[in-house]
Amino acid sequence: MSKTIMIVDDSSSIRQLVKISLKGDGYEVIEACDGKDALSKMDGKKIHLIISDVNMPNMDGITFVKEAKKLPAYKFTPIIMLTTESQQSKIQEGQAAGAKAWVVKPFQPQQMLAAVSKLILP
């Protein structure tokens, strides 16, 4: 059974990039364009991993992580934060909220896949 990964980012091109590379490795991908959208699309579904941007409209990444961690179905779901080099403090903030992994933008598809495969078994 293939595993499901959610990508939360307001940039459709980043979503696209992540989606294509993950699908190529056999993952199911759910897209969401911000924290709010993500929460509504999660809806108790089995999601093995969440990849989330930090700066997004409606609900930013940090708030989203905090909210997701409150839900029993996603309490232990691994979360990868997308940050930029200049957002070192965001990595810390994200970690405190519960997103322990991070990928620095801009990233190569292989970097994303490496981070994903460190976190979930195939």
Binding site: F76, T77, Q95, K100
Partner: protein, 727 residues
């Protein structure tokens, strides 16, 4: 050569070497007072003492052997950690160095037998060491207890066990993974990290340890208890393996060690590394056995210990943190030692009479001139092959010149470190607590300059300590640390070597200097001067009278002499001072005194050389410019007409050029008739007869045989400034 003569030469060598070793000892002892990681330094001191003793033994100087032996015993006890290194101990050892120096000098004078006065002194100094020796002996007996305690402490932490298996031979890394207990809750599954690891290499052997799993009642099903040990085979760098665990590093124990069976390999690798005096950590990183992150972590731990007044060698910390095994660290330390020793040998290996070196430099100077002459003739013939051959010769001559000059270059470090003792002694004398910081000790400088810079530096250092740095009480009142800081720094900057003497004392008092200058008639009342101009007043001869020491902020004493010494070296000095914060004196010196790169210009029928490092650019003189200044890119550029300055009457050429020169931020133009291009040239000093001529730094002979004067830009600019000020 007769045996006697041979022995005589050997003896001369021994005394020279001993003097150097004593310098090493003294520097080492001074260092011991200021640093905490002292093992290396103690070793160096010990080796120095040992070598002196050994040499004395060869010549049969029993009194030196006997004396040094006692010193050596104390050093040995320090090395074994039986004696605590403190200022008391250093204070007892310093006189030993001094005394040994006297003993060796006596031998150099030919007094190979000891005399009774010196014997008495020897005995007295040895008596001073006796308490330390007694103390050390007492400790020897209970040192075994200490050792067993420290082992116990180590046992408390979980040590990485060796995985015993036959497969291990084919692996190269040993991973110990105890992920933090919360990792599962964070969505981090150790298993997927381990699976990911297989992308980098092959897991040869894996042991899952369940010993940390508590009883059923206490076990929290959401906590991680499993510990994994892996024998891993991979061509990846250690840093890449380490990166796998980035996300789980916090709170986890993750150790990546070279496999026991690979230790030999790393030891060999370390041995074969071509390395200069690398630091231990860098050495280990270079051979891939630790990562930069691990080193930084180790250094942080070291720093933390230091703050708790403990000291530990970085190698030991890395072993303790299970970053690397002891044999590898030991190999690296040995390597480091060998590098240092081989460097020391290199440093000592050739002694050349300075006089011979001077002859060589002189000859090369002549060669440069002869080369220029040959190339001039060659270019006149129009024979391309000859010109090419000549160009090749010239470029070789330049290389020979550079390496010959290199022979004369010595690091300024030894000059600087001599001041450790000075600062120590003078601060005791003054009752002030002053620490000397040295940086840029590796900066190289012409030996002839080094010899002449010692006195002015001594003056500046003493002045800074005496008048610059306030007494501790006053410093505390001014919210400064009680300990005063003095800094000696050296660096290269655009063709100059810069030596800085800075203190964090009271700074210069502008108003007082002004008042004094008016009183001495150096300036007019109401003259407006920049800070720089005010500060430089203290270099005026009129300022060097004794009564100013107390009421002026110091620094009046003999500063004109300092200035003169430096000017003689074709150098300059500048002051930077902030009231209440401190003063920095910057000495600018030419890299070498013998040869310069110059810019050749023609004025009338004569040629002049302007040192190239002063030249900023060349521009054409605007026609019909009758003022003594012109506009250059929106700025006013004052200029000096060399034609007027040197009183040249020849007819004006149609086109005149301005060479823009700069010194210490001041720019000016020199108006000349002809630009003749760059050249290398040997400076011939002007005879004493012309010592008073201002603005000329020396002379040189051109390829054509013509004599050209070398322009002394700083002096010219100062004259210019003076002239414009009085207008």
């Amino acid at each position: 050569m007769s045996l006697d003569k041979e022995m005589q030469e050997l003896l001369v060598n021994y005394t020279i070497e001993s003097a150097e070793l004593l310098q090493v000892m003294e520097e080492g002892l001074m260092e011991l007072e200021s640093i905490e990681e002292s093992e290396e330094t103690i070793n160096a001191i010990f080796r120095a003492a040992h070598t002196i003793k050994g040499g004395a033994g060869i010549f049969g100087f029993e009194h030196i052997v006997g004396f040094t032996h006692v010193v050596e015993s104390v050093l040995d006890a320090m090395r074994d950690g039986l004696l605590k290194v403190d200022s008391e101990l250093v204070a007892a050892l310093l006189p030993c160095c001094d005394h040994l120096g006297i003993l060796v000098r006596e031998i150099a004078k030919g007094h190979t037998e000891e005399n009774s006065d010196l014997t008495k002194q020897s005995e007295k100094i040895i008596a001073g060491l006796q308490p330390f020796l007694d103390n050390a002996e007492g400790k020897q007996t209970d040192s075994s207890q200490v050792a067993s305690q420290s082992i116990q402490v180590q046992d408390e932490t979980h040590r990485v066990q060796n995985i015993e298996c036959d497969n291990s031979k084919s692996g190269n890394w040993h991973l110990f993974l105890h992920f933090n207990p919360d990792c599962l809750r964070d969505g981090m599954d150790p298993l997927s990290f381990i699976l990911y690891l297989t992308k980098l290499g092959e897991i040869i052997e894996l042991t899952t340890s369940t010993q940390a799993l508590p009883s059923a009642g206490e076990m929290d099903p959401e906590s991680n208890y499993l510990i994994f040990e892996i024998v891993f085979k991979s061509d990846a760098e250690k840093a890449d393996i380490e990166n796998v665990f980035d996300f789980v590093r916090a709170g986890s124990q993750i150790h990546i060690l070279p496999l026991e069976s690979k230790i030999e390999y790393y030891i060999d690798l370390i041995d074969s590394l071509e390395s200069d005096d690398m630091q231990l950590g860098e050495l280990l990183i270079k051979c891939g056995v630790i990562t930069r992150r691990e080193l930084e972590e180790g250094l942080q731990a070291q720093q933390a210990k230091r703050e708790r007044q403990q000291s530990q060698h970085i190698g030991d910390i890395l072993i303790e943190q299970q970053t690397v095994q002891k044999p590898i660290v030991s190999a690296a330390l040995e390597k480091q030692q060998r590098v240092k020793e081989s460097k020391a040998i290199e440093n000592q290996s050739i002694r050349v009479d300075a006089g011979r070196l001077d002859i060589l430099i002189d000859l090369i100077g002549e060669l440069v001139i002869a080369g220029a002459s040959a190339s001039l003739r060659a270019s006149q013939t129009g024979d391309m092959a000859l010109q090419e051959a000549n160009a090749a010769v010239i470029s070789l001559v330049e290389e020979v010149r550079d390496s010959a000059l290199q022979l004369r270059m010595v690091p300024i470090g030894s000059t600087f470190s001599r001041f450790q003792r000075v600062v120590r002694d003078v601060s005791k004398e003054l009752g002030k607590d002053i620490k000397l910081h040295i940086s840029g000790a590796d900066t190289e400088i012409d030996k002839s300059v080094v010899e002449k810079i010692g006195d002015p530096l001594m003056h500046l250092v003493r002045n800074a300590m005496d008048h610059g740095i306030e007494p501790a009480q006053l410093r505390i009142e001014r919210d400064k640390p009680a300990q005063g800081n003095l800094q000696l720094n050296a660096y290269h900057s655009s063709g100059n070597i810069v030596i800085e003497v800075s203190d964090d004392g009271r700074g210069l008092d502008r108003d007082k200097i002004l008042a004094k200058a008016v009183e001495r008639g150096l300036i007019q009342v109401g003259e407006t001067l920049s800070d720089q101009e005010v500060y430089s007043l203290i270099f005026e001869p009129g300022f060097s009278t004794a009564d100013q020491i107390s009421n002026l902020s110091g620094r009046g004493v003999g500063m004109d002499v300092v200035k003169r010494n430096i000017t003689e070296l074709r150098g300059d000095i500048a002051i930077d001072s902030t009231p209440g914060k401190g003063t920095t004196l910057r000495i600018y010196l030419p890299l070498t005194l013998a040869i310069i790169d110059g810019f050749l210009v023609g004025v009338g029928e004569s040629s002049y050389v302007i040192p190239l490092d002063r030249v900023v650019e060349c521009v054409a003189l605007p026609p019909n410019e009758n003022h003594d200044y012109m506009e250059l890119r929106g700025e006013v550029l004052p200029f000096i007409r060399l034609r007027q300055l040197f009183n040249k009457k020849a007819t004006l050429s149609k086109r005149q050029n301005v060479i823009v020169v700069e010194h210490l931020g001041v720019k000016a133009g020199l108006v000349v008739d002809k630009l003749k291009g760059e050249l290398q040239t040997v400076i011939k000093p002007l005879g004493k007869l012309f010592g008073h001529v201002q603005g000329v730094g020396g002379s040189t002979i051109l390829g054509s045989g013509e004599v050209a004067l070398i322009i002394d830009v700083p002096t010219l600019l100062r004259q210019q400034e003076f002239a414009s000020n009085t207008h």
